[in-house]
Amino acid sequence: MKISEQDIKTVASLSRLRIREDEAQDVLFQLNKILTYVENLQALDTTNVEPTTYALPMQNVFRADKVKPSLDRELALSNAPLKEDGYFKVPRVLEV
């Protein structure tokens, strides 16, 4: 077993996901199967191999620091599940 039920609870919580009791065994089984499969990379010696994050060589891209029109505020809020006075509205974050 690469990953325990407790590991899955931790990673689910980090991912802001909840695993239901009735699906826990299947999730555990599938993730273990996948993580066992990807172990085959360990067979490769990668000493002195540089990691590749982007396939093509790329450098920082700069643009002129000019003011341009941006997305209209109402439009930016148009898909918000809940809004008020031009703001996104969320459940209370701080205890009072």
Binding site: I3, L14, R18, L41, T53, A55
Partner: protein
Amino acid sequence: MSLYDKTAHELHELLTTKKISAAELTADVFARVDEMENKVHAYLTLTRAEAEATAKRVDEKISRGEKIFPLEGIPCAIKDNICTKGIRTTCASKILENFIPPYDATAYQKLLAQNAVIVGKANLDEFAMGSSTENSGFHTTHNPHDLERVPGGSSGGSSAAVAGGEAIYALGSDTGGSIRQPASFCGVVGFKPTYGRVSRYGLVAFASSLDQIGPLTRDVTDCALVLNAICGHDEMDSTSTAAPVPDFTKSLVADVKGLKIGLPKEYFVKGIDPEIEAAVHAVAKKFEELGAQIVEISLPHTEYAIATYYLIAPAEAATNLERYDGVSYGARVDGADVVEMMTNTRTEKFGAEVKRRIMIGNYALSAGYYDAYYLKALKVRTLIQKDFTDAFEKLDLILTPTTPNVAFKIGEMVSDPLQMYLQDICTVPVNLAGLPGISVPCGVTKNNLPLAFQLIGKALDEEILLRAAFTYESLR
């Protein structure tokens, strides 16, 4: 005369010679949609009113004697992870069920600039994660060649729409084969351009270092026309390349004399469908007869590509999908506090495969596992890319199967995610290396299912792929 099964370049000719009107063409394609859609289910949203309005505009332009663009008035499907201003864009996810983008993706904008007629938004696996459209949060698309089979994925709605006559061409996106594999399953041409050729602005992010938009078309000529329309640098996407864009129609030359084509032994994997193996060897033989040189080659790190991909893509996806938190857009499921609200939203609205990949990704990125999983995968990515760089020192292109299997039956693989991942063996190395790849139809199996081969080129050398594919298509 039925119009829905013609190519864009044939229809352009009919439009410019006034043999048909754009309104007639649009009506014909929508009549076909009405006939097919309850069997194929290629679309998530149909945009008939917009399509008819555009067609009317095109007809007015033609009647004024104005010149029209190659894709002007031609009906197309847009994969539903490409943002279309004012038109619902769901990514086939319940979490974006009611999302109306406030802006257009650049690639789509470029089609609008040509007055392309948009038939609708095509189905996909949720957030483009899958190989069959069975992971769609709404419905599974059926393969028009055999309704019991999948159309491939994730761009399965796009490929089925083109194959079924419900669009003349389509835009898809390809992160690990999501254009080429469904193209091969549905018997159409599918092209993944070099990473950076097409702007990703407005393409809902799955794995940002791998995602690329590209066309699904009826033939290679249409493929070149769509590439001409959508490629090019975009200041809204810092990873889009500034390399000049050639006129891709100039590559539509039937001549492969002197080309060196590599046949990598690792792509003819154990368990490959013998009919696919035979078909690809027959294509190699055809290229040889036409004057190309076929060279047996080795890409030794191919066997590590799936593991590399299924660490890197989920890691990037886990990061990209953090934004679906029930705050600024998308669905929200209430909870007692912010964390519970976010957890409820993501738990209820994401599908099983998306959750699985988010968890693999976050696991691979987490403290204690980062070096062993994610960093290791990035290093192996270097080795996979180097295989190609070394091979291309002596080659012009590489010929492989697109997939080890033809279209499989709906439900056949859903219970085994890893088995589904292994289907991507011939396509993921191309994304990891950022190279261009095309899937080209090459006949059918004895059960009448489409067969296809893949050509892989050097970075930014889309032209040689188009030339070889066009040669095969015209002289086969």
